[in-house]
Symmetry: C2
Subunit: 192 residues, 2 copies
DNA sequence: GTCTATACTAAGATAGAC
DNA sequence: GTCTATCTTAGTATAGAC
């Protein structure tokens, strides 16, 4: 049984951090968005950074799960990478405010918390490298720099959070389809 | 004749904002990095936001110039886009701290300053769309969504600033070459 | 153009009642 | 578990001497 107040505070903090940045957000602002007094924050979260870590952990875990589940779909390397990129872009578009916080406020975490998050990030990059390597092995992808290319493919999705606004020119699904297509085209062998 | 102190403060602010975020940076920190007292800041910049705007303006102008000059190189659409992406990625890698500030602290600007910067951003995206459109016209590129694809191509470069560290695994030139190759591959027509 | 000193405001976090 | 009230610290910005 979880306490709803704890989650309401996390949600309020996501909005505030995404809008104003972690450093510029006050605990009073978070409390007021959650409909509570400033003091109530500290019943549920020891510090402001604790709130940031809760957001970052939940966000990275969700994104990693999304990527992992998408990797299980698709029988061929092309289908697998397309599925991963599509799902990853849709996730970042549908959770663009959470995404902005987890991507841009990494440096505001304590060293201990940073280490936990860095490990999740490494696992995401590893998932993509594995998918690319499989395609190279089967001869359907041509990749010079595996690490750099995997990072570039993920960049298409991650960079969404910098500018995406719900209700804008593209839906999450449209962006997912566009990025999946572009990613596969990046990987296909050059014509001889 | 410019005052060196003004520029020293801007440079100090770039370091501080990139490291801690705009909201979490104190004017005392900026002053101390520039080797001055807190009061000296206000002789050269009216407010902390004024410093941010100076950084953002200079950064966006430099990036736009880089993109424009690169677009003049290359006789064919493929060479032109490769030149633009290479130069844009090299710029973001060589100025990753400035890039981080200008990309991530856009929302911290005043509405008036935001409008100025937004205009420069629109012009960058327009430059890339023009380059893609030229290739489509000549039949060497196949692009479904011009706006989305131009943004995705630029994302490869911009997203560098999120993780790039000087002295890391890749040099700016290596990343420029990688991204130029990936961008051109994204645009080439699918095999029939 | 830089300093020391400080006014003024607001931040993070806690105490103690209910 | 939430509140009001408040402690303590630190922030932005300014005044006035040099």
């Amino acid at each position: 049984m979880s306490t709803p107040a704890r989650d309401r505070l996390v949600d309020a903090a996501v909005e505030a951090f995404a809008e104003r940045g972690y450093g510029a957000t006050t605990t009073r602002d978070i409390a007021s968005r959650a409909g509570m007094s400033p003091a109530a924050v500290y019943v549920h979260h020891a510090t402001k950074e604790d709130l940031l870590f809760a957001i970052s952990l939940r966000g990275h875990q969700n994104a990693l799960t999304t990527l992992t589940e998408a990797a299980a779909h698709g029988a061929t390397p092309v289908e697998r990478v397309a599925s991963m990129v599509r799902a990853f872009s849709v996730w970042h578009a549908e959770h663009s405010r959470t995404g902005r916080v987890v991507q841009y406020e990494f440096g505001a975490l304590t060293p201990e918390h940073r280490a936990v998050i860095a490990d999740l990030r490494r696992r995401m990059e590893q998932r993509m490298r594995d998918a690319l390597a499989k395609g190279v092995d089967e001869g359907v992808f041509e990749v010079g720099d595996l690490r750099g290319t995997a990072r570039a493919v993920l960049s298409l999705s991650v960079d969404l959070v910098r500018w995406f606004e719900p209700g804008g020119a593209h839906t999450p699904e449209e962006l997912g389809a566009l990025h999946a297509d572009l990613a596969v085209r990046m990987l296909r062998p050059l014509p001889a």
